[in-house]
Amino acid sequence: MDIDSSAPAIALHSVIKKFKEVTAVNDLSFTIGQGEFVALLGPNGAGKTTLVEMIEGLQFPTSGEIFVFGKNWKGHQHFLHRQLGISLQETRFIDKLTVYETLNLFASFYNLPVERINQVMSMVGLDEKRKTYTVNLSGGQRQRLALGVGLLNNPRLLLLDEPTTGLDPTSRREIWNILMDLKKNERTTLILTTHYMEEASFLCERIIIMDHGKVIAKGTLDELLAHHNKGEIIEFIAGCTVNTDQLAAIPGVRSIHRASGDKLRLIVDNIITVLPLVMQEMDKQMCGFMSLECRKFTLDDLFVSLTGRTLND
C-alpha cells in the first residue's frame, strides 16, 4: 500500500482531548500538507505533547477525528506505523544496551538492513558511541539517539517533541542540519514542538502557536508578525528619573512599559523616525542613556503579547 499523494499529511477535525480536570486540546481543526515543516510553539502545558501523541496514535481524542495521510488510526495501525518516525518528549532506552544494539532492536521491527543502522548512526553523530551503554550517554547524546531511532525507517512523517531541549548550541545546530537535509529531499513532513522561536523560524515555514489547548496564531513568521502588527521596540535604561508622560506624547510612540528593573520599553511605529525624537526629549530632560537597544518585534515578543507568558517559562 502506498501513500495517497493528494491526501494531506495530517488533517484534524474538531479534536478535543479532556483529562479529568483539564481540557488539554480544545477543539482543534487544521491540515498540514505533505512535505511541510511545521513548528508547534507554546508554553508549558499548552497541549503540544498531547496533540502530537494523538497524531502518533499513542493517545486517543475524547472527540473529533484525526487523519494521517488520509487514514484513521483505527484499522490502519500497521500501515501508519511504517510511515511515522517519532521522538517522544522523554524516552529512556534500555540501560545496559549499547547505542548500536538499541538501533538494531528498532531496525528489526521495520526489518531494515544493517547498513541503515550505520547510516543513521553517523547521521546523528553517534559513531564513536556505538558501543556505549545508553545509560552512560549524555543528555544530548541520548536525544540524538532518540532522533536516530525516529529516522531509522526513513519516515514520511516525522514528529519530534522538543528534540533540542537541553542541548548545547552546537548540538542544536547539528540537529537542525540533519533536519534541513531531510527538507531538501521534499519527501518528509515534519512537525516539531519547541520552546525556541529561533528554531521554529529557522526550520519551519509554518508556525502554529498554541496555548490552553487552542491555536492562538498560525502562519509563516512574516505573516505572523505582519498580521499582528505590534510595532517595533526601543528599550533603554536612563541615567536619571525620566518623565514618562513627555515620552508618551511623542508622535509614533504607542505605549510605554517598565520592562525589568530600571529598563523602559517603548513600543513605537517605526524606530527610524521615532528614535531621534526620543533622543531629543531625553536631552531636554538632561538625561543620558546607560543602555539603549532597538529591535523589531520578535516571535518571542509576539508570544508574550498574545499569551501574557514567555515561551520558556
Binding site: E56, L58, H78, R82, S108, N153
Partner: protein, 366 residues
C-alpha cells in the same frame, strides 16, 4: 524465530550478563542459601535445653539434685549460677542441659527473651514444669529431663533410635526442590513485573508500540527469556547440590521439564496480569513483595506447611508456588512421574492462560 523476536529476547540475556546484581541474586544467592541451610541441618545434631530453676526454702527435689551434682558449675555473663551437663549419644548426638538458678521474676524475663524454654520450681516433694505447651521445643525439654531423671538416659531401655541419613530423606533433599521453585518464582516475578513496568515508566513501551513491533512477539520474548534463564538458574543450583550434597532426581525427567514449563507459564501469566496497568516501579515492587512473601512462608519451601492449621492447608496447596514445589519435590525424592504431578500440570497452565488472557485484555501499552 523472526529477527525482531531474537532482538527482543536478546535484551533480557544481555541485561542478565551485564548487570552484576542480577547474576548474584539469581545464581549465587540460591546456591549460598542451599549451602548454608544444607550445612546447618546436616552437621552433627546438637541440642541445647535451657532451664531456669527457682529454689524453695524447704530444699531441693531429689532427682534434679542428683543431676545437678554431676554437672559442671559455671558463672555466666549475667553473674548467675549455672550448671551444665553434656550428654553424648552415638545416635542422638550431643545434648547439653543448662540449669540457671534464679528468682521467679527474672526467670520469667529470661523466658520472654528466649534464653530459656522452661522454668522449674522445685520442692523436696515435687517438681513443677512451667512452659508454653505450644512450643514443641519446650515440650522436648520436658520429656528429655523427665526421662533423664527417671533412667539416667535420654531414651528408655528396649527402644532403639536409628538415624536416617539415606539420600532423599535429609533436609537438604527437601530443601533443594523448594529452592528451585522459589528461584523460578522470584526470577519471573521480578524479571517480568518489574521489567515490564519499568519499560512503561521510562516511556519505552509507548515508543516501541509506535513501531510495527508485534505485541505478541514482545510478550513472547519475555516468556522465552524468563523460561531459559530460570532453567539455567535451576540447572546451576541442581548441579551444585548434586556435586556438594549428592542430590539426585529419582523420578521422570520429562515430567520434571513439563512441570518446569507449566510453572514458568503460570508465573508469567500472573506477572502480565498484575503488571498490566501499573505505571510505577515502586508499586510494582510492592506488588511483587505482596505476592512472593506469603508464598515463601506458606508454600513449604523451607519447612513443611503441614504444621499450619488444617483449614488453611487446602488453600495453601493450590498456591502456584506450592503446586510447583510439591511437584518438583515428589519428582526429585519420591520418584514421581507424570501421573503423580498431573494436578499441577493441569492447574498451573490453566492459571497461566486465564491470567495471561485477562492481563492482555487490560494491558496498558501507551
Amino acid at each position: 524465530m523472526s529477527r525482531s523476536l531474537i532482538q527482543l529476547s536478546l535484551i533480557h540475556f544481555r541485561e542478565f550478563v551485564r548487570e552484576p546484581g542480577i547474576l548474584f541474586w539469581s545464581i549465587f544467592f540460591p546456591m549460598l542459601m542451599a549451602w548454608v541451610l544444607g550445612i546447618a541441618f546436616s552437621s552433627k545434631p546438637e541440642t541445647l535445653e535451657s532451664f531456669a530453676v527457682v529454689k524453695n526454702s524447704e530444699g531441693p527435689y531429689f532427682g534434679l539434685k542428683t543431676l545437678i551434682d554431676s554437672s559442671k558449675l559455671k558463672i555466666n555473663r549475667a553473674h548467675q549460677v549455672e550448671y551444665v551437663k553434656v550428654f553424648e549419644d552415638s545416635k542422638l548426638g550431643r545434648t547439653t542441659f543448662r540449669f540457671t538458678y534464679t528468682s521467679w521474676d527474672s526467670a520469667l524475663i529470661m523466658l520472654k527473651r528466649g534464653q530459656i524454654q522452661l522454668i522449674l520450681k522445685e520442692s523436696p516433694s515435687r517438681l513443677e514444669y512451667h512452659f508454653d505447651p505450644r512450643s514443641s521445643e519446650a515440650k522436648l525439654g520436658y520429656i528429655y529431663l523427665s526421662s533423664l531423671m527417671k533412667n539416667g538416659k535420654l531414651h528408655e531401655a528396649g527402644e532403639d533410635i536409628m538415624p536416617l541419613t539415606r539420600i532423599g530423606t535429609r533436609y537438604i533433599d527437601f530443601l533443594v526442590p523448594g529452592l528451585i521453585a522459589l528461584g523460578m518464582m522470584n526470577s519471573i516475578f521480578w524479571g517480568m513485573c518489574y521489567g515490564l513496568v519499568e519499560m512503561r515508566m521510562k516511556k519505552l513501551l509507548r515508543r516501541m508500540v509506535a513501531t510495527p513491533m508485534k505485541k505478541s512477539e514482545f510478550l513472547l520474548s519475555h516468556f522465552i527469556a524468563r523460561l531459559s534463564l530460570s532453567l539455567l538458574e535451576g540447572l546451576i543450583l541442581l548441579t551444585f547440590s548434586w556435586f556438594y550434597f549428592h542430590i539426585t532426581i529419582q523420578g521422570s525427567i520429562a515430567a520434571l521439564l513439563l512441570v518446569f514449563f507449566a510453572g514458568d507459564f503460570a508465573f508469567a501469566g500472573i506477572s502480565i496480569l498484575v503488571s498490566s496497568r501499573v505505571s510505577n516501579t515502586r508499586v510494582a515492587t510492592a506488588i511483587v513483595n505482596a505476592m512472593t512473601m506469603p508464598m515463601m512462608v506458606l508454600s513449604g519451601v523451607f519447612f513443611s506447611y503441614h504444621n499450619f492449621p488444617d483449614f488453611v492447608i487446602p488453600f495453601i496447596k493450590v498456591l502456584p508456588l506450592t503446586l510447583l514445589a510439591d511437584s518438583l519435590r515428589s519428582i526429585f525424592i519420591e520418584g514421581a512421574g507424570f501421573h503423580e504431578v498431573m494436578g499441577a500440570l493441569i492447574i498451573l497452565p490453566l492459571l497461566g492462560t486465564i491470567t495471561f488472557t485477562l492481563g492482555l485484555k487490560w494491558y496498558k501499552w501507551y
